[in-house]
Structures are given as structure tokens and as C-alpha cells.
């Protein structure tokens, strides 16, 4: 059983502070949906609104078409996985998992049986009698998922549950969560500030800033076709060249920047006009060395500051005009060239991969 979740004009205010501002969105049943944004962007508040811990100041939440106004968290078909998991330390693993069943008055033997089944689902068979503090971080994670699933929610809400894990485990749990979601077949709503998590697991991602959703789309779209300067700078890495629109061509916009005249693709539905302040965003992987000497379009002059090696990629940190930091990434094909600090090089921006967006606030570094 999975239900769709609709947020209608949701606004949440704490005194003078508006945590969520007039949010309208429908999350489809069975979807893995992520809210992505920096801390303080209102994503956790939104999750608390859906789970029922926070009443919105305005608007309403519909789950499976039913209005949830005035319905407490214990009566909603949702289950929440907390950031710190909030497992009950004084109960055994199986008692934790079966808590929601115990509440419903299910007999002890049935509780035990169901807990065992769920432990199997999360790949921890036979560990029901352990105490929570005997488990590793990844195991606790799984128990938290099992405990939430035991309540047979139609919507599972996850509040950055992977943030406490180390990198390897986090990457592993991403795949695992996605698999569990597909097996369970319910709606997952996932909150994170880690774009890697959002992009790898989700069907769709909503990028939030200061209580407002800036873009809702599939991960690839959010990454390749950002619609605001914030999304472009928050999701993945991006080099930003500030300037003014000087010309609008068929499928390109020309922007004059301090680094020179740059051509790039407009965003979908772009309303930029000549003379508007704009930013050209070029990802590190959209930059390449100038191969042909006579090429002058979209070429910028830089100086090498630093070279980094990251395994499948290597990066050059460059300094452009006016000290602008530029990052360029190349796939490691085994022939990594060594660049000396201070070396002057010309770099080219692929106009098809670069995007022009109206000037706006960028994500904090």
C-alpha cells in the first residue's frame, strides 16, 4: 500500500520566522522523493508537517486523498525515521521493531514472528534478542527502517538517517534503502542536505532554499538543467561567471563577463532579455583544454593554482580574471599530466553543457 502526498499552500511560521513558505507539491504514490537543501531551508519542518508533529500555519496536507488536518502523528499512515534514529535503548531489537504492533494489541508471539520477518527484510536475521547498544551504526539504521516498516505505513519519512554513518556504509545504505523501498512498494520521502544521496536514490528531487522549493524534477534534470542560480550552485559543483546578457541567439545566450564573452544554453522557459544580469554556470566536467590554437570562442585564460587527484577524476584548481576560482575536472584515463603551479593555460567551456541563469543568490560555500 502506498499513498500519494499532497501539500496545499503549506506555510509554517515560527513567530516572525517563516520556515516554509506557501509550498504546493504532489508526491506520487510509490515514489522515492527527496527534499534537498542546506540546513535551515525548511525541509525538516516540511517533514514534520507531513508526519503531523507540526501543524502548518496555513494550508493542508492530504495523504491518499484524505485531509490530515487535526490528525495526530499516531493516527497518520506515515512512519518517520529520525535523524538520530531514536531507537528505544531499553528494549531489545525485536521489541523495538514490534512496538507499533504491541500498540495495536498484537500478541507477543505474533509480534516476535513479524519482527523476525522484518529483520530478514533488512538483512539482519536472528538478531532480535540483541540490545540496541550492541549494534553497529549500519545495523541500527536497518533496525530503524524495520521498526518503521512494521507499522505498515503508506508513506515512510526519512530525516537524514544516513548522516551519522561513514562514507562507505553510507554509500552502501543508499543502494539498500532504494532496494527496500522497491520491495516494500511504499512512498519514501527523504530529507537530506547531501546531494549525492538525493541524486542516487530518488525518483524526483525538490531543491529547497529558505522555505521555498526552487525546482522539482528528476535528479538528472536538476543536475543538468537547473532553473535557478541557487540550484545550479547547490547541486554538484559549478563554476559561476557573472555578467550581462549581450545577445540572444536561437539556442544560445551570449553573456559578457569579466572572463570574456561566453556563450551558453538557456534554461527551460528562460525569460532573459538583453541587458539582464545573468550567471553562466559551467560544471568542472564541462571545461576542457583548448586543443585548437585558433579557437577563441568560450575560451578563458587561467593560471594553475593546484592539482588534485581523486581516483576516477583529477581536478585542476585554476585562477581566472580578477582572482576567480575555477575548477576543472578530467576523467582519469591513466595518463594524468602534471601541471606546475603558476602555469598559464587556456580552458574552453562547452556551450551545450553550460547554462545561463538569471542572477540570484548562490549556495553558501
Amino acid at each position: 500500500m502506498s499513498a500519494d502526498v499532497t501539500l496545499e499552500n503549506i506555510t509554517v511560521k515560527f513567530d516572525d520566522f517563516t520556515a516554509v513558505n506557501n509550498t504546493d507539491i504532489t508526491i506520487k504514490g510509490g515514489e522515492f522523493f527527496s527534499f534537498l537543501g542546506p540546513s535551515g531551508c525548511g525541509k525538516t519542518t516540511l517533514l514534520r508537517v507531513i508526519s503531523g508533529f507540526q501543524e502548518p500555519s496555513q494550508g493542508r496536507v492530504l495523504i491518499g486523498g484524505n485531509d490530515m488536518t487535526g490528525i495526530g502523528p499516531n493516527k497518520r499512515p506515515t512512519a518517520l525515521i529520525f535523524q538520530n534514529l531514536a531507537l528505544f535503548p531499553l528494549m531489545t531489537v525485536w521489541e523495538n521493531i514490534a512496538f507499533s504492533l504491541e500498540v495495536k494489541g498484537v500478541s507477543k508471539t505474533k509480534c516476535r514472528k513479524r519482527a523476525e520477518e522484518l529483520l530478514e527484510l533488512v538483512a539482519m536475521p536472528g538478531q532480535g534478542d540483541k540490545m540496541v547498544n550492541e549494534l553497529s551504526g549500519g545495523q541500527r539504521q536497518r533496525v530503524a527502517v524495520a521498526r518503521a516498516l512494521a507499522a505498515e505505513p503508506e508513506v515512510l519519512l526519512l530525516d537524514e538517517p544516513l548522516s551519522a554513518l561513514d562514507l562507505k556504509l553510507r554509500q552502501h545504505m543508499r543502494t539498500e534503502l532504494r532496494e527496500i523501498q522497491q520491495r516494500a512498494g511504499i512512498t519514501f520521502i527523504y530529507i537530506t542536505h547531501d546531494q549525492g544521496e538525493a541524486l542516487t536514490m530518488s525518483d524526483r528531487v525538490a531543491v529547497m532554499r529558505e522555505g521555498v522549493i526552487e525546482q522539482v524534477e528528476e535528479g538528472t534534470k536538476v543536475y543538468d538543467k537547473p532553473v535557478t542560480a541557487f540550484v545550479a550552485s547547490f547541486v554538484g559543483e559549478n563554476n559561476a561567471f557573472h555578467g550581462t546578457v549581450s545577445n540572444i541567439l536561437a539556442a544560445k545566450i551570449v553573456v559578457s563577463t569579466d572572463s570574456g564573452v561566453l556563450e551558453a544554453s538557456p534554461a527551460e522557459g528562460s525569460s532573459l532579455k538583453v541587458g539582464d544580469k545573468a550567471i553562466v554556470f559551467a560544471r568542472p566536467e564541462a571545461m576542457s583544454f583548448v586543443k585548437r590554437r585558433n579557437l577563441v570562442k568560450n575560451v578563458i585564460n587561467t593560471e594553475v593554482v593546484h592539482q588534485e587527484f581523486e581516483g576516477h577524476f583529477w581536478h585542476l584548481i585554476l585562477q581566472g580574471v580578477n582572482g576567480l576560482k575555477i575548477k576543472m575536472s578530467q576523467i582519469n584515463d591513466g595518463t594524468t599530466e602534471v601541471f606546475e603551479e603558476g602555469k598559464k593555460i587556456k580552458v574552453q567551456i562547452d556551450p551545450k553543457l553550460a547554462v545561463v541563469l538569471p542572477s540570484g543568490p548562490l549556495a553558501a560555500e
Binding site: 508533529f53 502523528p73 518517520l80 529520525f82 535523524q83 531514536a86 528505544f88 512496538f99 500498540v103
Partner: protein
Amino acid sequence: MRLWLKKFFLRNGIVLSLYMLLVTFIWIVVMFVLPQIFMFDFSFRFNWTQIDPSKIGSPEDIYTLQHYKFLLFGSPNNPDPLNIVDVTVFGRTILAAIFVTLFDVILCYPVAYYLAHVAKGSITRLMMLSLVVPFWINELLRAFAFRILFGEEGTINNILLFLGVLNQPIDFVRENIALYTGLGYAYILLMIFPIYNAVESLDRNQIEAARDLGSPWWRIHWRVVIPFAKPGITSGCTMVFMLSAGALALPQIIGGPSSLWFTQIIYQWFNTGSNWPRGSAYAVSLMVICVILVLLIMKIFKVKFGEIGR
């Protein structure tokens, strides 16, 4: 031990180390262990009316169980099989102390929980203040004020009579209601603060998680909050029980005239009875039974001794 001491001195410096060792020694040995040992020893001695003072310390000054026997069976010419008066008072004191303790737990747990997890900022401070300030008034004054409040012609009776709830005044003092209320009131802080301390350290997310999993409020308390607060509850109960059972001033002042508190009997032996060994034996008996009861309760509720100190 020597290694530990060396480390202790190295870590804290000589002055602080000596000071800490000294105050700990005074606190535990001088103030606690030694007096109890003297009392214990005393309780097995003859009273000075039974032994020639010059013979004290001589071979004739032997240990005797007579005072404990007296508590249980009374004087040798007592026709009853037991010392009915003393044993009854003893039992009633213990029961009443248990009752006061239970009353305080039921009263204080919600308050402590509210303070720790519901009340915000200024309300918390206001509540804390209103809990603490009444204890600026000394115990005797409070006890006599309770007499005025609970007396036959007291405020409560007057109000109830005026409202027509009662036709006849109730003698709250004679019925010991004044005493139980007074005792419950006197030790409220000793119940609230340990519970507050314990409940406060509970992660709020646990309460929300339980709620999110469908639990009604009472089950959240039963399965999540109370188990977590158990050491605090036990600690509060221990103190309230011990102090209630050992209270003297309140039973003296607002206790019913027909019902003695066991401490009053002890007091009589020490004071008017001039029989210190017998008083000691009575006091030791009370202490031993109380400690056994507390340990028993800790065992039943599976609270370890170390947890109480948390």
C-alpha cells in the same frame, strides 16, 4: 590503590587532592560510619540503671539482645505474645511511609515530566521557583501552619462547611490526613528533582518516535519514559520513604493524638525514658528494615545501585 592515589594526586595537585580526600573522609567515615557504629554498639549494651557505672568496661559489661527482645515481645511480664503497641506502631509507620512515597510519586512524576519536556523557558523557571520558594519557610512554622489549615476549626473545614460540602467538620489531624499531607508536601522536592533529572535526559525524539508509531500517551509513558526514568524514580522514592519513616517533628505536631509514629517512641526512649541503648536498638531496627525494604524494591524494579547515583 597506591597507583590510583599517585595518579589522583598527579592529576589534581596536592591541595585539591588532600581537600577532596579529607572532605570525603569526614563525610563518609566521621559523619556517617562512626556514629552508626556507636549506635549499633550501644543497642546491645545494658542501660545504666541495670549496671553499676564502675563495672562499665569490665567483664560483666556484656552484650545483650534484651532491647531488641523488648521491641518484639515487650517486658518479661507482658501477657501478650508480642509487644503489640510498639510492633503495631512500627508496622503502621512503615506502611504510612510507603503510602506517602506512593502519593508523592503519583503527584510528582507528571510535574517533573511537564517541567522537563513540556514547559518552555520562562514557565519552567517560574515553576522551579514556585517549587523552591515555599521551602524557605522553616519546618516548624510550616507544621503549625498546617494545624491551622487542617484543624477542626481550620480553613479547609470552614470552606467545606460554608460550601455545604460537609455538615460536620472533619478532624483532619485526628484522621492523620494532615500528617500524610504534611509529609508528602515536605519531601516533594526530593521526589521531583531526581525524576526531573532522569526524564530531562531522555531524547525527545524517543517520545515522538513512540507517538509516530501509533502509541497513545499513556503507553509512551509506560514503555518509554518511565523505564528510562526508573533510576530517578527509585532514587526519589528511596529518599522520601527513608525521610518519611524517620520524620519526627511533623508527626509530633500534626500527627493524630492516638497514633504514634515510631520515631516518637524512639525519641521517648532517648529522652523521657533515659534509655539510650533501647532507643538505639529501636532506631537500628527501623533503619535495618527500611534499608531492606529499599533494597528489595530496587531488586523488584531491577534498578542497580550505581544507577541511583546518576
